[in-house]
Symmetry: C3
Subunit: 159 residues, 3 copies
């Protein structure tokens, strides 16, 4: 049988679940706390990612930058009434060492407009590096690779 | 590492999986048996849920009421040929005590019309209270919170 | 509590995750290696499956046939630029004996066109028979049951 590290697998899935519920519940102020202090976050497209182009759509390399982004979103999107619903699946986890792991997962996000209409907003992969131990799991690095290059230039929420 | 209760987590995910397969397979007669005798089931919208408005779209507080609902659906929808496909993900489980747990999960449902066309039918969250022990897990309470208020007034199947 | 076989459950979910990531990453050459040498693969529709009609859309009963199919796809689709993103959920696993298990899972596949547009491409169920032991889990049989009969006659990738 494939040796799956049960504790690690379910801990990483739990981290992903808490992460997307925070986003979907619009608890954006909690978002930076899923990262280590110098955590890196970027959103890019599959095209750029595979071509290894250094052009992320969004890039941050500290909690402070993530907090700034939340502030900006709160001011910009004051009248918005969309909702988002993430579906995360097929989570593959690989231990790096006693203190770190890598994971890959698929996601799909539905956007529900204030009119009630629902559209498939985004799909892609999460490539994450996670710090283990201490007070729970935290993202050292989270790379969101979007399948489509036709994305909304104003991303209303983090992904 | 986050302490995930492995047995509880997978048992709750298994309950959710059996629940949605019963619905998607149109085995509606089995649906009430996922609940305790006085189990509560309701479907509401996020708007109502967050405003704490007492206006569920569907409400039942016993297996008998759920059975009545199945009977009604069987008579009303005799000519229907839709299919439904649930996607459930990001399941967060919290133990209340030795005999009960709570869970939150995301869902998306695709409806496949008899013409072959597929549409995103509904998305939202399940907020569940589950009785542990005895003969397997059963729902004491299942609240379906739809993201969109633009729902079909005639819900063809339970969610 | 429902007795879930933790190791088996997570090993089967891991197999499914590796399987769909290989497909979504366009690593089609790896696809036959998820099967035993005489593994059976078929794609059918729910209508045909339930009517027990012997008319699969695609049928193969060996790795060699799967390899042929990959070659054909590589030649036919040389100019394609679609991407696919699977979402797999609600995995139910049942042990047959020490060397085999069955699983049922729901899937949804999004197709991302080279224009950037995303559409819900397919949904359905995987009915799998899995060989345990030896060098990891392998499919003895994988049946893909599509919800819709309105499918693309030229399936660009395996499902």
């Amino acid at each position: 049988m494939t040796a799956v590290d049960v504790e690690l697998q379910l801990s990483v899935e739990n981290l992903l679940a808490r992460y997307v519920h925070a986003l979907d519940d619009d608890r954006l102020e909690e978002w930076p706390d899923f990262f280590v202090e110098q955590g890196r976050y970027r959103i890019t497209t599959a095209e750029n990612f595979e071509g290894d182009l250094p052009l992320p759509i969004i890039y941050a390399d500290s909690r402070a930058m993530l907090r700034d982004r939340v502030s900006a979103l709160r001011h910009a999107n004051i009248y918005e009434a969309q909702r988002y619903r993430h579906g995360v699946s097929s989570v593959l986890v690989e231990r790096i060492d006693a203190r770190a792991a890598r994971s890959t997962a698929n996601f799909q996000v539905v956007r529900i407009m204030h009119t009630g209409e629902s559209v498939l907003f985004a799909s892609g992969r999460y490539f994450d590096r996670i710090r283990l131990g201490g007070n729970g799991l935290l993202y050292e690095e989270k790379t969101v690779v979007l399948d489509s290059r036709a994305i909304d230039t104003l991303l209303a929420i983090p992904l």
